[in-house]
Symmetry: D2
């Protein structure tokens, strides 16, 4: 029977992780479980850096970005020795189940660990990139999109006032979600994403055509997984002989207060993860899909996610 | 064949209405339709206040709150004479279809008008209250929730610092959606919504019990459709003899830049509404439901919406 | 010689108090002083609720609203017995000087206490109302003004879209600073402040005249010290027979992340307060005045502050 | 006698320029002047792109970033022919005075033009860099600082969660104001500004020493005029062998809604500029200095501004 669980955050931090930690801890306590917080992801399991959490341990964090448990990559966990040490920590502290808050990299590691040691493990998808397969929205993605959108709104002010061409690079790893959402919501003229071949000659042609008709300002959003803003800008300038400016939004997109959606997801998924462990589930992630909370096997979750882009991409073209 | 359409906004304004107008106008033009903007809702049809819109008419509005078409209630449209005058405007300007951006009150009026005059009409659900039946999310609801949540975050600062009990009234008419989302995301201790009986004796008892254990600050969220903040606060003070403070968030929740979700919905639904008219649909609203864009008949949309509250309400209790 | 000091926050909380605490604690430690944090203002001195603070005690709070020391009113401190008990705490813990972060009420109490017990005491002006005499800007005032301004921007969206008259009540106690700044920055049509007689007949006349020329939306800002929004709105409706809406911004204005100005002031004044104690100053507040950091005697600081309103008030009239 | 004036915005755009335009236009009209808006800065004078503005021309812009008059650099204005053509436009339209909203580059050009043609000209200092000599604060600087500070707050979330070293480059041209304000308000560990020699060996040494004591996250703010973030990060990694991340905030700092301070300055300075023209002043800028509105000669304004950095720089060191 499940008596004690541990919770950890791994991979890149995402806004809402703290709300998820709060939900896991308080849901667990509400179900008479003990709960331990593990620090610095897998590293904390390997190095026995963890401590008991109570109701108060997670007070005042629901609206804070980042993660109070800290996070990071841990190459050691990919070694047999690292995994064994992590397992020893789990045994030593009589931990009956683990909840891993992170992205698909985190789930891959959790899946490997589960196959070997059979310690019940449930994932909670948290990633600004929204790139976890089989689910509609990860914790943090809505916040990152809104942060990037606010930046685009600012850039629009200066692009319009100075009549300039901007190339803005957003995060998202090899997934074009943030770029597409931001380009659409920001009323941007072009978007370059990994899921679609792009043609800088054609874009440059459009810019020149537009400028002949009096359209003087452009914002081109580039997903970091598709190209570098600087390269795109340089090429456009080469072809059109027009000045360009670049902005790389970078890590600003990772932090900040979670939006309502990110908090709401975090709270619901945190509770759902505890419920999963209690009813004996393992090797899967809780997931928000088609408007409902469910689960998705780790094996599915870590597969390459397809972005249903055609509609959104076409919409962008129509609305510009 | 559809050659010219009109678009109007009615009822209370909601952030994202402008993005929807932009999407309607540009999608229509992209499909070779003429499009007219009608001012002040039904009033503009009755009084022939409308004009032709082109691509540029909707530039620079995607991120602006409110509606450039203006909006309002129009009692005259509920009279036979008012409807007849509106119909004469439609005929005079050879308008083949109407797109109505608004809430369920707007759809009710549109439904009546359609039954009488058979002018094709499609609704786009925009309302901060999220109270349109048969759909998951209206344009503007996510923005209003985030605005209210930011206010709650602020109030939390002072509630904690001064160790006070706050009663915060949020909008939502007779639907508890905003209140529930905000209470959950804000880590609030109690929520009072129209969908659930509330017991101020019990709440007061909890407060006293909490204060004995050292819990000194409380935020109680009240949906405007359930009770008035002042009444709730007065009653709690009567029972507990503890000081209370009230905040009525009010119309601040109506305005502001639309969030990514509100913009994205607006753009997708705007396009979808034009497509509906083009393929001969009428008497229904476009709708986001279970993760997809579809439609819902006006007759269904205007019915009382049930809020699936039990899970969220229980979650609030567990997480507090 | 000064060896140990105590810091406390009293009165209403203001954004930037935490940054001030950080600056006091770290400046003190940098000058080889010990420093104790006193909880709940004077109450903590009376009830010996205080503890030693080190460098880490104030980590991560620079951008947080409210005060980690908590605050509140303390009627007991106005009694001889309360003051005596506070003094005993000070003696018991060998505290050589006190830094009081608060508004003019706090300084009045500090001044009385100093006169009686001669414990060196320096004030740091923190108040959203900006009503401390002899200084240009208190910690928190700029944040409150920006928060209120963002609310006004939101209300403007709906006022314009629905063509309505709004009466918006802002904080500021009996000082019109917030109201005037917000009305000016928000492009509001009227402002009602305690420093100036107002005439609702004249305002109503202006509204009617404006509406005849097609001006349909109005925002009238009311300082809480001058009138209640509801009364103003009711009266305007009586006279003009036009619908009005009211918003009372309330405690939302107290919280939130401090602006750059509020943080910058807090850090500079925190350091300056420690320097004052070190060089033997007492019975005065550090102050930002005419672009420089200086001091102002408590006796001056607690006098009624004059708001130089004529220029700003006239400007409002010209710009509307 | 002054009968008609023109207003233009030149150089980089700054938040609050629109509020300044509003104040100029409405103050001028209030003083019975005619007023023309010139588009695209000096270019609009040269190419006769200008039009009459009335009270309504500047409605709804007070809270919008950028400039409705558009702006830009204009090399042609530095030629005798360009200046002559600008002068012809002025004569043709019977313009008696010009108000130039911009930074010190704009004032330099205005000064040259005035010396040659003696057309009365008043400057309004608007620049995010706050680098205009003889004044305390330019329109837009407070907004840019707050925008950068919000970004730093976000980066702090991820820096703390992932225990990383961040190097963040902010704007400011060859002036360290934004960098210093942001580093101080953001609680950053180091700041690199053009006004002060920096030593990456020493910074790296501090980082290593800190990490031995458990301090794992750092934010180093770099003014664009002092160094490139990438170079600084690379060097630190070379010396310390620790991973670093960089963020270049870029043009996001230019846009966005102006803060209360930026709006308030804009409105007061706009009115003051009109008053200056009316009373026959010329060849100077209106200025906020030591808490008051006054003027500064163009000759002084365009000199290199000294940043009084020692106190702030030392404060940063004490508070970290």
């Amino acid at each position: 029977m499940m008596k004690k669980i541990a919770v950890l955050t791994t991979g890149g931090d995402a806004p809402g992780m703290n709300a998820a930690i709060r939900a896991v801890v308080r849901s667990a306590i509400n179900s008479k479980l003990e709960v331990m917080g593990v620090f610095r992801g897998w590293w904390g399991l390997i190095n026995e850096e963890l401590k008991s959490f109570d109701h108060r341990s997670v007070s005042g964090i629901i609206n804070q970005g980042g993660t109070i448990l800290k996070t990071g990559r841990c190459p050691e966990f990919y070694t047999a020795e690292g995994q064994e040490r992590a397992y020893q920590t789990i045994k030593k502290h009589s931990i009956d189940g683990i909840i891993v808050i992170g992205g698909n990299g985190s789930f891959k590691a959790a899946h490997e660990f589960y196959k070997k040691y059979k310690v019940p493990c449930i994932g909670i998808p948290a990633s600004i990139d929204n790139d976890v397969n089989g689910i509609d929205m990860t914790i943090g993605a809505d916040t990152a999109v809104n942060t990037a959108l606010a930046a685009i709104d600012n850039i629009r002010d200066t692009a319009t006032s100075m009549e300039r061409i901007f190339v803005v690079e957003v995060m998202g790893r090899d997934f074009g979600y943030i770029a597409l959402m931001v380009a659409l919501g920001g009323g941007c003229e072009e978007v370059i994403i990994p899921e679609k071949k792009f043609d800088l000659e054609a874009i440059s042609h459009n810019i020149v055509q537009g400028s002949l008709k009096g359209k003087m300002s452009w914002i081109i959003v580039v997903a970091e997984g598709a190209a570098r803003a600087d390269d795109v800008a340089k090429k456009i300038t080469e072809i059109t002989d027009l000045e360009t400016r670049t902005v790389v939004l970078g890590h600003v997109q990772r932090g900040g207060r979670p939006t309502a959606i990110s908090r709401d997801l975090a709270l619901n998924l945190g509770k759902a993860a505890v419920d999963c462990l209690l009813k004996g589930d393992s090797d899967k992630a809780v997931a928000f899909h088609h408007g409902k909370i469910g689960t998705v096997d780790f094996e599915t979750a870590i597969k390459k996610k397809e972005l249903g882009i055609e509609d959104m991409y076409n919409l962008l073209k129509i609305l510009t």
